[in-house]
Amino acid sequence: MPWTAGYSAMKKITAPINRIIPFSNVDGPSNRTAIFFQGCQFNCRFCHNPETIHMCVHCGECVEICPVKALSIQDGRVVWNKELCVNCDTCIRTCTRSASPKVTEMTVDELLPQIERVRPYIQGITLSGGECTIYKDFIIELFPRVKEMGLTTLLDSNGSLDFEKNPEILEYCDGVMLDVKAADKDFHEWLVRHSNETVLRNLEYLLRAGKLYEVRTIIFPGRDKDNTDTVSYVSRIIQDRCIYKIIRYRQFGVREEQQRILGDDTTDEAYAKTFVELARSLGAAKAYLV
């Protein structure tokens, strides 16, 4: 395999991969392989895959509960046997730390054959998470080699990495799909438990750099002001220069205590549509409801 040539001497960078979806039609244009990394610095209240937020601390609580004994402890670490696992997700429901035992540490050389296998059927790959940019060294090593395969490369990011200060990650990246969860500083900090300063800087920088593929904002039920603020803010900046996906809040997978705060129902479609209209009226011509 040509892409492995000459790399054996290099130090092996690894990243924790939560899952790989060979064919995805919802992670960017065309058919793509979506690769999900484990771990995220944000802790969004609405996260519907909370098990991807933190790294496993190997407490072992989920091990006993696995119905098919796919989990075991070896040398103080939880080991997941993929072949035995029936994907019942009991372990994930058991974990109180928003982590998952079903994560594989991989090197770029281990990941590439999996992409090569799917290559004939896809237009490109999308790295997602968790937050993929936590593993920027891994990405910097991965992307040029994916480009060599004739594939496109997208990052699905929460915008926590300052892209302006990390130009190498963008060099072989075709575009970023950026979440702008809230424009208002306080609302963002409440919602995500993290500042949005870098996110908003990235919004403008990526646009300038021609690397903003799309922006996404979630519309929450009953939060007129916050929804309006965010959608207006983003629309004024991006105009018709990138896609703007307006997404309805969905309660599925959201932790119960958060559902009590954010709502246990999906945002009404007609209500969400008013924000698409708002975005368009402010010049975001490529806004649409997902």
Binding site: P29, S30, N31, R32, F36, N49, V118, Y121, D179
Partner: protein
Amino acid sequence: MSDALNIVKDTTLTYPQTLLALAKLGENTDHTIRFSDEYYTAKEEGALCDLNEGNLPYRPRYICPDYDLLFAKGCDFLGIEPPKDLLEAINALEIFYNHVPSITCYPVYLGDLDHLLEPFVLKEDRAFAKKVLKLFLLHIDKVLTDSFVHADIGPQDSVTGRILLELTEEMQLAIPNITLKYDPELTSDDFALACVRCMLKTAKPSFANHRMFAKEWGEDYAIASCYNGLKKAGGGFTLPRMRLYECSLHAKDPEDFLNVWLPHYIDLQLEYMDKRVRFCVEESNFFKSNFLVTEGFVKQESFTGMFGLVGLAECVNHLLNIKDNKKGFGMNKEATALGLRIMDAIDKRVAAHTAPYCDAFDHRYRLHAQVGIDTDGMDDSPGTRIPIFAEPTMLEQLEVNEQFHPYFPTGTGDIFKFEETYEKTPEAILPIIKGSLSRGLRYFSGYLENCDVVRVTGYLVKKSEIEKLRQKKQSLNNVTIFGKGAQDGAHALDRRIQRHEEDHSTHQ
């Protein structure tokens, strides 16, 4: 009650359906063609199946007339002049179709409609042409009431092709089946995408690997009936099938099967084919006096026999003693490898057999992965497909298919059911089709999970029509009854759905 009486009293049969059933009954009173005792035993055991072709082949099973010839010189027998405009062209086709026989009595190949009609369509105002084509499609659906009626389009984009796609979507009819002859170099992405959109909503067109077919058959090939590759101005004499699961039941182990039982049954099926082909050419009136032959619309040397098979997956799983399909053929390297060994063995033995006639094919029959019939139940999956309920991910399913499709010049295919979000992202499907065709897939069909027109095992039915039969009402389409059988017995509509995993993005 006599069989005839049963037929005429069956209130779910329309008049033509009653007539055809009675004709078959009459045909089967004759026993001129005799086979060896071993053949009858094999048939009795269910190892070989003649697909109820009838005892007297009074016409080839599938006929693909040369419609270019019809348009160039007209037809003496039917008194048709070469058409000068669109109305005359449509009229000529409609008359002609009624005189093209087949195993089902309906024409299984309507021609490469875009290619045939484009010169006439271009001379008309688009709206008028569309109206004419709409009435044409309506005529086909209501008169040629059988889903094995099949039209081809492509590989090039055309106004006619576009109109046919628009109408297919607007009219939501099960008939005719449609295939796009697809070649990424000859077919524009834009036209291919229009075909994907139409396919998602109406289960047609399917995508045929044009390069692969053209290489095997020459450019003048037709896709007819379900997905059958045949030569234009020719066709298929006969299509019996080995039911490989039943064929494997006497075998002690894989080697015993490969060395003893497989050759045994292959030879018996060849005997059946040889005798039918000979009778059809030498005894029946078709090749002697039918106007299609005498006027050159078909040539006897361009017909071949189709050597069919079903149930490879179940055969392999039985031989390897695998009880759970989910751990068997298609999911397990050893099982898939045995499947390939079996296919190689069948391919070699059939290719070593000198077939009577079949001059354009070097006197050889061609393999066909039969789609199954309504009474098959769960014992035999169509052709070399992975059993319903055991399908792996779409990627794995394609990888398995790509290894098996090259064996079947006279047709094979697989069907993928897509989840609703694909309606908005047809451009996510085209690369899958392109990739798999480049890697050996022969034929790709798909539909959206919530469609009314759906693909059963190769042919199309409307779910609403199956419902009619359940309520003991008549369905105009001869094939709806097969669709009901395939769903009730083999769960053919419950195939795996390609869906994005709903919970996979943390970003909602």
